[in-house]
Amino acid sequence: MKPPEMSDMRTEYAKTLIEIGRENPKVVVLGADTTDSLKTSVFGKEFPNRFFNVGIAEANLVSISAGLAASGKVSFASTYAIFLPGRAVDQIRNGIAYPSPPGKKGLNVKLVVSHGGLTVGPDGGSHQQIEDIAIMRAIPNFRVFIPADTIAVSKLIRLMANEYGPFYMRMARSKTPIIHSESQEFQIGKGITLRDGSDCTIAACGITVRMALEAAETLQQEGISCRVLDLFSIKPIDGDLLEKAARETGCIVTSEEHNIFGGMGSAVAESVSERHPVPIKRIGAQDMFGESARDNEVPLLLEKHGITSFNMVKQVKEIRSKKI
């Protein structure tokens, strides 16, 4: 595979926010002293009256976003992943997800975070959020996305802005390779088949999508035909696509930079086991925390947790022997 073009999710997020901010005066953006890092401060420069930096006060951030949404605004609240689900889950649950105006489910707040997962790197295990998907998936009315590239970021932000209700979207800290084409469509609850295959399926999201494509390429050379899915929509998960993959390929490997409990792998296992059980192997943090790794060492950190295309190849080979 040729080296991919790299692109920054936060820059794309801010750019998209400004575009939708111009189109829709109801869009408001909130931050908690990470607005330069998240790049949302540029939205504040263009729309100073629709931008609120509430300081290092995440609970406050979430509840204020809810109040704005209850008054008809479309609230985008952003900071690092570790500080939103990890810190303000009560305000998220009781303040955004639970209050349901007549005929609606939850308030119109979009929580868009950066610095998800282990690739946060140097800041260390305290700042590597590997439980957010489990937390957010468990809260009714929330929909949960992990985009694989900046094209997904831009399209999902637009999608969220136009679709009423609470969303959680986790972006990566580092630049990510472009995976999708500009014409790729994104729908809530619909996964994307990036590569067809008949012997096994790798379901990935976020930074593991590129790894999955590389693994499939390697497996191809060894005569194994591997299907690759980008499951950016973790909740709702694409049960139809997964059932089809289970029927047609007979086994599934999942991969994510999240604890194996409660993340995308769990969502896949829940869906497949109910609809068409096949052997599943979950790659991810094996119920242990991350640790500091300098930027050039992040691959070592991921390797420690088995989040590599090499391990995907290995797991595909192993799981094929367990097919029913």
Binding site: N60, S63, K73
Partner: protein
């Protein structure tokens, strides 16, 4: 505009009864915190809030955010009185399938905020206030937080933020009742200063120990400190809060948890416990037996009425009775509206202007403009048409309407049609004209006769006893049905007005306790009397009530 004093008061009473009804049926809930904020809710719902029950999501409505969401019965009951939901729906509180959840919920139209997880409502209100500013809307956001709730760090995050954004469209109330779930707030987590013993009145008495206002001031808020059970103080505080520009306001309201029911007052047990259904008739009777003391200043130094008003203020009078005499309807002459206008600036305590004048219909407007909150005219100088005119004018001006009858006057038949909405009835127990006369004992008989007429014509106002009221006869006046008591020489004529008022109150309280015990005995014999007394665990109430019960032979 007047205070709309009795209108607010009557609705607060209705709401309190609904709190008792709903929590006792539900078997759980939080009456204590519902009662501590009852007067705040009453002033908001029946005077300040702009809302339309038939269009709960009206864009320009004011927003009421109950951050201390456990006091939901206090919110729902007022929403019922205000017409959002039928009163009967309160019976479904906390029931499966009900719109009235254990904590306020958007399932019930008109509820602004899903409260309950404490500490979050003020931040939410900031969001609502920011949106209003953005949209150039002039509606106001009122948020009620608790003192226990103020343990939450998010309250102080919000305090900083509202100040940063200069949210003058946001007014917070701190329901400072000094009690949270485990115990007294100053024991669990002091907001003012650590409590030395279990007597929280210690905190009330000593203003130098109040630190909460300083905290909020230092966070950049406009701080107003009031007695949160006094309608006139709440009224003024809200008026000032709305007028403050460029700064959010917090009204620190010192309140009493469980206010109005002796055994619940200041008792941490009643934070989150429902009343036992067998006690409900007694509690309702106690709610119906709230009373007020109104000194009459003409019993004092007529050359220095300003000082008499000040003595009333110091004495914590509920309101001030102003006897206006014109020298025609009665032989004596006191003062007119010009004097009232002068006195008005001295206090916000409601002015109860008793017009003993001929042709009141011609002058009543002057008394409204002078700042009266309650105006009473004499039946002897009115007829259906003129009283109708007076009634309309007063109601429009948010001034409470009173009608007075002399000792030798029966309630005229033309007045019956006004009884359902009449706020105050004065049954004179002396011939008006001068201060210091002796109570006419035939008044008791007259009051008894009046009872059935008032009941038949659905009178829900207050009866005011006026004329020769003193410590000897005040109890029997209470038993006759009077709930407001004018004290002339027996209060203003005393050197220590505060002490005289306190004695008046204690005397009525004693009679009220006796009435309640009597009722308990009637409903459930000495068994219920014992249970009732057993509820009064705070302070010396239990021994005092036991003594009354023994004296009366009920135990």
């Amino acid at each position: 505009m007047g205070l709309n004093y009795y209108h607010i008061k009557k609705n607060i009473l209705r709401a309190r009864r609904l709190v008792i009804k709903s929590t006792s049926i539900a078997g759980s809930g939080h009456p204590g915190g519902s009662f501590s904020m009852a007067e705040i809710m009453g002033c908001l719902f029946y005077k300040f809030l702009k809302f339309d029950p038939s269009n709960p999501s009206w864009e320009d409505r004011d927003r009421l955010v109950l951050s201390k969401g456990h006091a939901s019965p206090g919110l729902f009951s007022n929403m019922a009185v205000a017409g959002y939901i039928p009163e009967s729906e309160l019976e479904t509180l906390r029931k499966f399938g009900s719109r009235l959840q254990g904590h306020p919920d958007l399932k019930c139209p008109g509820v602004e905020f899903c409260g309950g997880s404490l500490g979050t409502g003020l931040s939410y209100s900031i969001g609502v206030a920011l949106a209003a500013k953005m949209d150039n809307k002039d509606h106001h956001i009122y948020t009620i937080i608790g003192d226990g709730e103020s343990n939450e760090g998010q309250i102080w995050e919000a305090a900083m933020t509202a100040s940063k954004y200069k949210l003058d469209n946001l007014t917070a109330f701190l329901d400072r009742n000094f009690i949270q779930q485990d115990s007294y707030t100053e024991k669990v987590m002091p907001l003012d200063e650590e409590l030395r013993d279990d007597n929280i009145s210690e905190m009330w008495k000593d203003a130098s120990r109040w630190k909460t206002g300083d905290k909020w001031r230092s966070f950049g808020w406009n701080v107003i400190e009031i007695d949160g059970h006094r309608i006139e103080q709440i009224d003024l505080a809200i008026t000032k809060a709305i007028a403050a520009k460029g700064i959010p306001t917090i009204i620190i309201s010192r309140t009493i948890k469980g206010k109005s029911i002796e055994h619940m007052e200041d008792n941490p047990e009643w934070h989150g416990k429902a009343p036992n259904p067998e006690m409900v008739p007694l509690i309702n009777l106690e709610l119906d037996s709230q009373f007020m003391i109104a000194p009459s200043i003409i019993a004092g130094d007529m050359t220095n009425l300003e000082n008499e008003v000040k003595r009333c203020v110091h004495g914590r009078a509920d309101y001030i009775h102003l006897d206006v005499m014109d020298g025609q309807f009665v032989p004596a002459k006191t003062f007119d509206y010009n004097k009232i206008k002068e006195l008005r600036s001295l206090t916000v305590i409601p002015f109860d202007s008793h017009l003993m004048i001929s042709e009141p219909v011609k002058h009543v407007k002057d008394y409204v403009e002078a700042g009266s909150d309650i105006i009473t005219v004499h039946a002897e100088v009115c007829d259906e048409s003129s009283f109708g005119e007076i009634n309309d004018l007063l109601k429009q001006s948010q001034v409470s309407v009173g009608l007075a009858i002399n000792p030798d006057t029966d309630l005229p038949e033309w007045s019956y049609k006004f009884l359902p909405t009449l706020d105050q009835l004065i049954v004179m127990s002396v011939f008006p004209g001068k201060s210091g006369q002796k109570y006419i004992t035939e008044t008791h008989e007259k009051m008894n006769k009046l009872k059935s007429i008032l009941k038949d014509h659905k009178f829900t106002g207050y009866i005011e006893a006026d004329g020769g009221i003193n410590l000897e006869n005040i109890g029997s006046c209470f038993e006759d049905g009077a709930r407001a008591f004018v004290g002339g020489s027996a209060i203003i004529g005393q050197p220590d007005v505060r002490e005289a008022i306190r004695e008046f109150r204690n005397q009525v309280l004693k009679t009220r306790r006796k009435t309640l015990i009597k009722k308990a005995h009637q409903l459930g014999g000495s068994d219920l009397v014992h249970k009732w007394i057993g509820l009064h665990v705070v302070g010396k109430k239990k021994e005092q009530i036991t003594k009354i019960a023994q004296e009366e032979g009920f135990i």
